[in-house]
Amino acid sequence: MASEFNAIKHVDKPLLVIYLVLVAFGWLNIYSASVTETQVSFYEFSSYSGKQLIWIAASLLIAIVIFSIKNNVFSQLAYVSYWPMMVLLAVTMPIAMLLGGDTKGSYSWINLGFIKIQPAEFAKYFVTLAVAKCMSEYSFQLKGVKNYLKAIFLFILPMGLIIMEKETGTALVYLSFILLMYREGMPGLVLLLAFLAIVLSVLVLRFSSVMFCSMEGVPVGLVVALLVVLVVELLFILYYYYNWWSVLYIVSAFVLTVIAFVVFRVILGFNVNLIYFLAGLNIASGLYLIVMSFLRWRIGYFWIAVFVIVATVSTFSVGYAFDNVLEPHQQNRIMVALGMVDDPHGAGYNTIQSKIAIGSGGLFGKGFMNGTQTRLKYVPEQHTDFIFCTVAEEWGFMGALVVIGLYFGLMYRILVIAERQEYKFSRCYAYGVLGIILFHFIINVGMVIGLMPVIGIPLPLVSYGGSGMLGFTMLLATLLKLDTQREERLF
C-alpha cells in the first residue's frame, strides 16, 4: 500500500492545487456566512465552520486511503460496490423516517446521533464507477436498445430511489451522465433534441399568458413553439435529403393556412382559433412526410414525421404537464426563474435576496466578514446552497471571477485528464466526474444568480455539507489516482 501511495509523485498538480484552493476558500466563506456573535473561535466544533473543518480533514484522510489503492481495484470493485450503495439508498428513507423524520421535507438523511449523513451525495461516486465500468467493457458499444438500456439503467435506478427520498435536486444530477454517453458515441441529435425540448418548454411556459395579436386563447408561446417545430422540420428535410420541393410544398401550405385563417376569422367572422390551424398544418406536414417515406423508400422521412407529430403534441401538453405533474413549489420556482412572477416574499425570496447580495458586492466586494446581506442572514441557506452569493458579496466581482475561473480550471483539467487516459474505464470515469461537476456548477450558480430555478444542490467543494465534501473528494481523488497510471507505464 505504501508503494502504491508513491504514485502521488505523478499526481496532476494543477488539479490538486485547484481542489485545495476551492476547499480553503469555501471554508472561509462558510465561516463568514455562518459565524454568530456568540461564537468564540474559528474552530468551535459545534459551529458550521468547525464541523466543516472536521469533514475536510476526514475527506483528506479518505483521499489518502484512495491513493493507497491499486488502480485496477476501482474497476474491479465498481459493480461490487454499486449494489450495496443502491441498497443503502433504498433503506435510507425508511431509516430516516424511523430516526427523527424528515429534514426540510426530505428523507435523504440518516442521523447517526453524532453526525448526519446523506447517502445520495456519495452515491454519485459509486454510480460513476459503475457506469464507467459498464461503458468501458470490451464488448460494449453505444448501439442498440439493449446497450443503451443497460447503461441508462445504472443511473436511472439511483435517480428513482433519490426522488423517492424527496431529494429531486440531487436526483437530477444523474442526468449529467448524458455528457459521458455523448462522448462515448450517443448521437449528437439526442443532445440537440433535448436542447430543443427545453427551449420549446421555456417558450410555451414563459409566454403562456401573453396573447398573440390579443386574440383570446392564442398564447404567443404556443404559436412561436409550433412555428419553431415547423422550421426545425424544414431544416431536417434540407439537412438530410436536400429536398427543396418538399420545403416549397410545406411553406406554401403554411401560407395557405394563414390565408385560410384570415378568411375564416376576419372576412367570414367565424371565431376560429389560430392554434388549431397551425397545429393542423404541423400534423398534416408530418403525414405528408410519412407518405414521402413510402414513395422515396427512405426511413428518415418517417422519423422526421415522428418528430414533428410528437413535438407538436408535446408543445400542447407542456402546460398540462407543468400544471399537473410538478408540485406547486416547483412550479413557483420555475416561474420565478423565468421571470413570470415577481414574488419577493414567497418563492422569489431567495433569488431576490441573493441577487441583492450579489449586486451590492461591486467590483471588489465589501470585504471578508463585512457582507451586510450575508452577516444579517438575508439569504437563506447561505452557507450551503447559496454560498456563492457570500463570495460575490464579500469579494465582489473579482471574487466571483476567481471562483468561476477555478471551476473552469477544474473542469478543463478534468477534460485534459480524461482525454489523455489510455484506458477506456478511466476516460469514462473522468467524463462522468466532469458531467457531475458541470451539472452542479450550472444549476447552483445559475440558481444563485437567478437564471435557473431554485434546485437545492450544493456548489462542489465550497458549500457546507460533509457528505457532499466527502463525495466530491472521493470522485476527484479516484480520478487523480487513475491518472497516475499513465506515468506508471513509463517505468
Binding site: 441583492i356 449586486g359 468561476i404
Partner: protein, 639 residues
C-alpha cells in the same frame, strides 16, 4: 479495445465548459455593475436612526425665555422580547407595572392589546406603550425597568411656551408636508419644520443639524448594533437660540387690550427698527398647536369665522384714514405743492368736495390742519401738489391763448407722489424684513386709473379720496407703524425685524423726503395729542405725538379706528400703530390703546387702571369674543 472514433467530441465538451462560466460571469457583472441592487441592499440592512438635534430656544428682548424644549419620555415595549421572557417563565408583572405607571391594572393590560393594533406594528421593533412621561416619573421607572423585560425608554423633546401670548409672531412647528419634503432634501418624513413667524423665518438656525446613527438590521428587523462601530455616525448639531426683539410684557399687555376686538397693534423701536410687539387679534395660546393639541385645535383655528390664523398685523390691508395725512404733509412739502406756511380755507362741514368733520378756524396752516385733521386742507394740498404746473397757457391752431391741462405733467407728478410714498414704506411690503408672510399695501398706479377713467379722464379731483387716506390707498399695520417710526426719527427708518442679533437689517433707509420737512409734522402730531383729537389720552408724564384716523370701509360698516404715534416726543423710544376694525372713531379705541401700550413700554407699568379695564372688557366684535370663549373652553373640556 474499441477504437476511439468520437475523440473530436471533446471540442464540443470544451465549448460547453467554457461557455457556461463565461455567460454566468457576464451576468454577474451586469448584476454588480448596474447598481440596481446596491441601494436595495442598504435599504435592507441599514437602519438610519435619526438623532434629533435639540431645537434652539427663543428669548424676548430682555432675555426672558419664550419658547423652549421640554424633554419627555416614552415608555416603549418590544413584544417579541416580552413573549420570549414569558416563555422562559418570566412573565410581565402587570400589577407592579401598573403601580409604577400610576394606572389601573386593566388599563395596562388593555395597552398590551392596543399596542399590537398600531399601524406598522412589528413584534421585533419597540412600540410606544406610554407617552409623555414626566422627568420625575422617568427616574422612578428607570430604577424598576430591569424587572420588565422588553421595556425600554426613549426620550423626545416637545416645544413648550412660557407665556400664553405671541402665537402669531412666534409661529409654530409642525410635521413637514409632502410638498416641502420634495423641495428640501435634508428633511425626512416626520421631521418637524417651523411654519410662519420666527419658527419659520429662522428655521435653519433653530433646527440645527440632525445627526444619524447607522444601525444594522437583520432579516427579521432586529437591530444588530452599530455599523462599523459608529464610524459613519453623524453627531447632531444643536440649534442656535434666537433672541427676538419682542418685549413679552408689552406683547401680553397689548393682547389683553385687544381681547374681544378684531385688529392689531404693532410697536417698533424707531432707532433700531426692532419690533417691540406685534399683536393680531383674535389670537390663541401657542401651546394649542403643539403635539397632540394640534389635532384638536388646528381645525377650529382654520374654520373659525373670525379667521384667527391670519396675522393681521402684517397681512391685513386697511385704509389708513386720517393717519395718512402725516405722510401727505411730508410728500406735499417735498414736491413743492405746499410749504410750512401755506394756508388753505376750510368751510367746515360745507366744504367741497370733501367735508371737514371738525370745527376749527379758517384759513388753517399745515400744523393746524394736522392737529384738527382738516380734510379740506389736505385735499387742497394734494391738488396743489399733483396738479402743480399742469394748467398751462397754450396757443391753439388759431393762435388764441387758452389754458390747457397738461396730462403728461400730471401723470409725472402723480407718479412722483406715489414713488415718494413707496419710499416711506407704503405700497410694497418690505423686501428685507425677516418677518415671513408680509403682505403688500396698495397705492394705485397711473395704469390702473387710466384703465378705469381713460388716459385723460382723471385729475386730482377724481382721486381726491387719496388725499385723506381713503380710496385706493391701503396699508398694513406694520407699514403704518413704520411710518410713525420714520416721523419719530425725522426722516429715516430701519426695516422692522424680529431678530435682535440680525445685523444685516441694521441698514438705514432714507425716504425721498428732505429731513427739514419733518419738524412741522412732528409738531402737528404733538398738537394732536395736546389739543386735537388725541388730547384725552396723553401718557401721564410724557409728551406723545400721534394722529388718529377713522377709516371708512364700505357703505354700512362702522369705520376702523386707527392711530399712529410715538413717545416721548423729544426722544422717541416707541412708535406704534393700532387698528381696531369696525370700532368707530380713532380717538375712542385705537388712541387709548396706543397710549396705554406706550406707557407700559416706557414706564413698565400702567397708571390708568380704569382705562385699561374698560378697554380690556369692551367688546367691539362679537365673533372674536365667541371664538375666544370657544377655544378656551375646548382646553378646559380637554382637562
Amino acid at each position: 479495445m474499441n477504437e476511439d472514433v468520437y475523440k473530436d467530441r471533446k471540442t464540443i465538451v470544451f465549448v460547453i465548459i467554457g461557455l457556461v462560466p463565461l455567460i454566468y460571469l457576464i451576468y454577474i457583472g451586469v448584476l454588480q455593475f448596474s447598481g440596481d441592487f446596491k441601494d436595495s441592499a442598504e435599504g435592507n440592512a441599514f437602519y438610519h436612526k435619526i438623532v434629533y438635534a435639540p431645537r434652539g430656544a427663543i428669548f424676548d428682548r430682555n432675555n426672558k425665555l419664550l419658547v423652549y424644549n421640554q424633554r419627555t419620555y416614552d415608555l416603549l415595549v418590544t413584544m417579541d422580547k416580552v413573549n420570549i421572557a414569558d416563555k422562559n417563565g418570566n412573565p410581565i408583572d402587570t400589577l407592579a407595572l401598573s403601580k409604577l405607571l400610576n394606572e389601573d391594572e386593566n388599563v395596562v393590560k388593555a395597552r398590551f392589546e392596543s399596542v399590537k393594533k398600531v399601524s406598522g406594528y412589528s413584534p421585533c421593533l419597540p412600540q410606544r406603550f406610554m407617552t409623555e412621561l414626566l422627568p420625575e416619573d422617568y427616574a422612578k421607572i428607570m430604577e424598576q425597568l430591569w424587572r420588565f423585560p422588553g421595556f425600554s425608554i426613549q426620550s423626545r423633546t416637545l416645544r413648550k411656551y412660557k407665556y400664553d401670548a405671541a402665537a402669531h409672531i412666534l409661529g409654530y412647528i409642525r410635521e413637514i408636508s409632502q410638498a416641502q419634503l420634495n423641495e428640501k432634501p435634508t428633511y425626512r418624513s416626520g421631521d418637524y419644520i417651523g411654519d410662519t413667524g420666527i419658527e419659520g423665518a429662522y428655521e435653519e438656525e433653530l433646527r440645527g443639524k440632525n445627526g444619524e446613527e447607522i444601525q444594522l438590521r437583520d432579516v427579521r428587523g432586529r437591530i444588530k448594533g452599530k455599523y462599523q462601530d459608529g464610524k459613519y455616525d453623524v453627531r447632531p448639531v444643536e440649534g442656535s437660540n434666537i433672541i427676538s426683539t419682542i418685549d413679552i410684557d408689552l406683547q401680553i399687555f397689548a393682547e389683553q387690550l385687544l381681547k374681544g376686538k378684531r385688529g392689531s397693534v404693532v410697536a417698533i423701536e424707531p432707532s433700531t427698527g426692532e419690533v417691540l410687539c406685534m399683536v393680531s387679534s383674535p389670537s390663541w395660546n401657542p401651546e394649542y398647536l403643539v403635539g397632540r393639541n394640534r389635532r384638536i385645535y388646528y381645525p377650529i383655528l382654520v374654520n373659525d369665522k373670525s379667521k384667527p390664523l391670519i396675522n393681521r398685523a402684517i397681512q391685513a390691508q386697511y385704509p389708513p384714514g386720517s393717519t395718512f395725512k402725516t405722510l401727505q404733509a411730508l410728500v406735499c412739502q417735498q414736491m413743492g405743492g405746499i410749504t410750512e406756511q401755506t394756508l388753505f380755507p376750510c368751510n367746515g362741514p360745507s366744504s367741497y368736495p370733501i367735508k371737514c368733520t371738525h370745527h376749527h378756524g379758517s384759513p388753517v396752516s399745515l400744523e393746524g390742519a394736522i392737529e384738527q385733521s382738516c380734510n379740506p386742507y389736505f385735499w387742497q394740498a394734494y391738488k396743489a401738489t399733483i396738479e402743480k404746473g399742469c394748467y398751462v397757457k397754450k396757443k391753439n391752431k388759431r393762435g388764441v391763448e387758452k389754458i390747457q391741462f397738461d396730462h403728461a405733467r400730471f401723470h409725472a407728478n402723480y407718479d412722483r407722489w406715489r414713488n415718494i410714498m413707496f419710499s416711506l414704506g407704503m405700497g410694497f411690503a418690505f423686501s428685507d424684513s425677516d418677518i415671513p408672510g408680509l403682505k403688500d399695501g396698495a397705492i394705485s398706479s397711473i395704469k390702473t386709473y387710466s384703465k378705469i377713467y381713460g388716459d385723460k379722464g382723471w385729475r386730482a379731483l377724481t382721486i381726491r379720496s387719496n388725499s385723506i387716506g381713503q380710496g385706493e390707498v391701503l396699508v398694513t399695520p406694520i407699514q403704518l407703524a413704520n411710518a410713525a417710526s420714520i416721523i419719530a426719527n425725522g426722516g429715516w427708518y430701519i426695516t422692522p425685524h424680529v431678530n435682535k442679533n440680525d445685523s444685516l437689517l441694521s441698514r438705514k433707509h432714507f425716504p425721498d423726503v428732505d429731513r427739514k420737512y419733518f419738524a412741522v409734522v412732528q409738531r402737528g402730531m404733538w398738537r394732536v395729542c395736546q389739543y386735537g383729537t388725541g388730547r384725552h389720552y396723553q401718557i401721564p408724564g410724557y409728551d406723545m405725538c400721534g394722529k388718529t384716523g377713522t377709516a371708512d370701509n364700505g357703505r354700512n360698516a362702522t369705520p376702523h379706528s386707527v392711530f399712529i404715534g410715538y413717545a416721548p416726543a423729544d426722544n422717541p423710544k416707541i412708535a406704534i400703530a393700532v387698528i381696531i376694525e369696525n370700532a368707530g372713531f380713532g380717538a375712542t379705541w385705537a388712541n387709548p390703546i396706543a397710549s396705554l401700550c406706550m406707557e407700559k413700554y416706557l414706564t413698565r407699568e400702567c397708571s390708568r387702571q380704569d382705562l385699561y379695564d374698560r378697554m380690556v372688557e369692551s367688546v367691539t366684535n362679537a365673533e372674536v369674543r365667541d371664538f375666544e370663549n370657544r377655544i378656551n373652553s375646548v382646553m378646559n373640556d380637554g382637562k
